[in-house]
Symmetry: C2
Subunit: 213 residues, 2 copies
């Protein structure tokens, strides 16, 4: 698939078909993730492929609990809309991938991390975006479930205390790839115009490229 | 460009040609970044396009200072190797892009951020990876300069205290796109085999996909 097609066609997917993902497809997706850049070539990430329904059920229960807490942030119509949203496909998607970051990999003096120690976490997120796009090009949908307390999820997979759980991803063949983000379609938020997020030279100084979309 | 070609051909670039980047090319790259997913469709990012040589010179001076500090982490041969590396192309690359994250955008109750407040920073990194890949497909090299103290860089662009500076990126036409990461070529670190970073079901349990590269 062409890069821009993958970028503009990538969605956060929460509705999946039951069909499994073949190992060779998953290997291509994970290898793409592993080829993200990383600070000091640290490659601080690990990817735990979880197919176990038992584990996914336990994670789903943790999601349900956190989601009930999160729902309390909203009232009235906003609360009704929130409650109507499907925010995760942990049980439907046949594969989950837990993405972690080992912040002490390669010792204390990783090149490029001295002034910005958070670079290892940032690198891990770059790998996740590679994974997301590679999956899209393979016809696989990915949903990032952030309505989870990492400290409660980690013990389910035996992840050590000092390893950061960055993401819980659900992977599977989507019911469909939507044209737009679900939160845009239902009117939860609007997409910002590019001109509002790009500045020229200084904070809040308008950037006016001729061909800016 | 094909997605996998962009993923495997993307490099952290530090040697640039002087030629400018056209605004329409830059607009396509920034629009690709802006189409990353974000937690709760928050789009917490801003991109400050910096062409000013004066500002880039000031940032370069901050880099030089931080790099001298970082070099002290190493001794002997490792120190000699470190000192021989070109780690940034701030002055050569005609365009820098500062990427920020506004952690309070859309108020305190962003969907999906209740249990993992760091999701806004993670979303911003996903946007950076989109930018990096889009640039690659346009023949533009990107170097992420993390040997900078963000608290000293922010005032140069008038970035408010409560806005996080996530990345300083240098963009330009590279002298060349290398086949491998520079830190691999010079022997600073080795690429880990995919089998070492992927686990099955639990932490450290080997994943053996038939077709794993």
């Amino acid at each position: 698939m062409e890069l821009y097609e993958a970028i503009y066609g990538r969605r956060d997917v929460r509705r999946f078909q039951a069909e499994q993902i073949a190992d060779d497809v998953l290997a291509r997706i994970l290898d793409a993730a592993h080829h993200a850049g990383s600070v000091g070539f640290m490659q601080p990430w690990n990817f735990i492929v979880v197919r176990s329904l038992d584990v996914r059920q336990q994670v789903y229960e943790l999601f349900t609990r956190e989601n009930a807490r999160a729902a309390e942030n909203y009232t009235g119509e906003r609360r009704e809309l929130y409650d109507s949203l499907k925010l995760a496909g942990i049980l439907e998607a046949p594969v989950s991938v837990a993405v972690t970051c080992d912040r002490s990999r390669n010792g204390p003096a990783v090149l490029g991390k001295n002034s910005m120690p958070e670079m290892d976490l940032y690198s891990t997120c770059c790998a996740i975006q590679n994974l997301w796009l590679a999956a899209r090009s393979e016809g696989i949908g990915v949903g990032w479930v952030s309505i989870l307390d990492p400290t409660l999820v980690k013990p389910l997979l035996g992840i050590p205390d000092d390893i950061v759980l960055v993401a819980w991803l659900c992977l599977g063949i989507p019911v469909q790839f939507d044209d737009r983000p679900m939160l845009e379609t239902v009117g939860w938020e609007k997409r910002l115009p590019l001109e509002e997020v790009v500045f020229a030279e200084r904070w809040q100084e308008r950037w006016a490229a001729d061909s800016s979309k």
